[in-house]
Amino acid sequence: MSTFTGTRALARLALRLDRVRLTVWVLGLSVMPMGTAANYFKLYPTQADLEAVRGVLSNPSLVAMEGPLYGVSIGGLTAWKIGVTEFILVGLMSLLTVVRHTRTEEETGRLELLRATVIGRYAPLSAALLVTTLANVLIALLTALGLMATGLPVAGSVAFGLATGLVGLLFAGVAAAAAQLTESARAASGIAGAVLGGTYLLRAVGDTGPTWLSWLAPTGWGLALRPYAHERWWVAALFLVFAALFTAAGYALSDRRDVGAGLVPPRPGPAAGSPALRSPLALAWRLQRGLLLAWCVALALTGAVMGGAAHGIAGLESPSQQLTDVLERMGGSGALTDAFLAAIYGIIGMLAAAYTIQATLRLRQEEASGRVEALLSTPVGRVRWAAGHLVFALLGTALLLALAGVTGGLVYGAQSHDVGGQVARLLGAAMVQLPAAWVLAGLGVALLGLAPRLSTLTWAALIVSVLLFELGALFGLNQYLLDLTPFAHVPKLPGEAFTIVPILWLTLVAVLLGAAGLAGLRRRDMPVT
């Protein structure tokens, strides 16, 4: 029996398990660039229209968010606008898929059942990589074909499709290595996700300052391939080399460990619970603290990096009307730097909401795993159990936003010699996002209480919010549709005047959703698996 025996059977199983999920990912990621290109054709029908936006798009704030613009053409603009989003999402898809079919299967013990059959040692990892590669190849092909169909040049379309698929492959490799390190699938996804988020920040800093930093960031390589702007095909080799290195590391690490084990052997824990471990809240703290800490680091860094990028804009001579227009479409308004900061804190709000949802849906994991049964057979009521976790979802989000506001204010303030003032302003810009994130927590609780099996749909709500934010204005979508996302109602601080009314409305919606969910939770059967 070779060490790869059974790979094909496992790959078929993975495809069967993921048939809906992967189809949605592949179609979504292929349609997004095509739609963007089609809309640019409508928006800028002539070359003159395009030339008008030239200087505008090379300004540091946009470069920080979206990367540098290499070619003034519909294709160049499309690659610039959608590139970073596309690369982050394809990286996310790849790492989640690989971890799901390796470490998650191992952690739940399902792999043990399979490994006892005629399955080679490398088969599970190989099957996961095979399926992920297949998805990436499909995405690359469909993306390239879609872009060509809009009338864009073949070479550039192929380059963009290629870049998308290669970013996916690279993060499949990163996840293959990360999945070997820890026993928990959550931690493995966390490590690979941190690499992904880190590369976004590196690229943002690198593209606005020291260029070499961008070369450390694969999301930057995708743009460095320069689709529609004298493609540099050799960059593809860079992806392949690193994808191969990470994948090889994954296989090598998997040789050094037992099934189910990580590389770091588990340390013994305390023989007795600490005196504080006596309430559902204390348990929730134990279960949530790692996640919260990781997010604290991530958002503090994001705030600092973006605060630094904002300073570059202040030095910009006579900002043109178009730049302000572009930033306004992205959610900012008012003076240029303020518009940039408002747009950035809008993004930070959605990032923090990702934590909010993770922390809220921990309740669902506790239920689906059956752990809640032992807990609810003690004098702990359901609402008290849920409240323990929701404290983190609600106040943890507040902490994250505060951190991002303070670090952004400190860095930007230090450069503009107004630390006190900027910290206060950016703290405000961050904190107004809180009620919008709370609405998603409310939605999560409502689904949990009323339709528990659908509670992962909370993520869909966030993804729709992000896409509407990124592309809503570009696609000329109806305002009523845009208003469906909670983030559309957040006052755009700094710059715009602060109004309390939308804050109160959002909070009220969050409270009503949460109350409906908790009422449902008290009424329904537990556990629903």
Binding site: S184, G269, A271, G273, R286, A374, L376, P379
Partner: protein, 303 residues
Amino acid sequence: MTEAIRADALVKTFGRARALDGLDLTVQAGEVHGFLGPNGAGKSTTIRILLGLLRADAGTARLLGGDPWRDATDLHRRLAYVPGDVTLWPNLSGGEVIDLLGRLRGGLDAKRRAELLERFDLDPTKKARTYSKGNRQKVALVAAMASDVELLIFDEPTSGLDPLMEEVFRQVVREEQRRGNRTVLLSSHILSEVEVLCDRVTIIRAGRAVETGTLAEMRHLTRTSIQADLATPVDGLGSLTGVHDLHTDNGTVRFDVDNAELDAVLRRLAAAGVRSLTSQPPTLEELFLRHYDGHAAATEVAK
């Protein structure tokens, strides 16, 4: 209060599946009550209704004098429960889980906790992630039995334990009952366990109680196996009412007899002159088989 648990005509459906179909169950205070049935008969569903986790579609349930759904948190102060499939928080140690569950129930007896850890041979410093099924079960058992409660509910508690630990479990349950006159509801599909531990038994099948009573009553309903060495042959033994499966071999007879007819049959044997006689009490096994005829029952009992 003499009834710790009383369920009348409980009905619970999941979609189209009818998990409970008019189930009755009465557990007297202070007794160890066996709740016997194959997988999928509705044992866990019943227990979850009694714990207020599930809501019955019809019928009534009373637990320790309260409504299990409405008064769940108050009632839970007075009971401890060990689920059939124990899942624990992977990053907490066994000791931490025991203390957490114990404290949530209102505190646990530290001496008893140490003693139980010793007897169950459980290392409390290991992370729950690294425990086997049996060890996870021990964590839940120690947490339950070191708590000061009136009612213990066990759902197939020994399914992951080795025979040595099963024996420890039996000893501890007996001690528990003696210690504080506690009520124990023990769901199981292992007949010998129920036979050894329980005062009364309820047998359920497809969501209904099909038999309930003391072991003595149950035995009365069933047969005794007799093997006798006789001085003279007995004619017509096989045609007596209540005699089944008669085998005769060189003056030795083996047969099963309905307990109701035992007296009459023994008189006939005595008349023929008994050299030696062994009788075996009826096992729940037989009772079980009679209620679960068919293939499913046979595989169940084989376990």
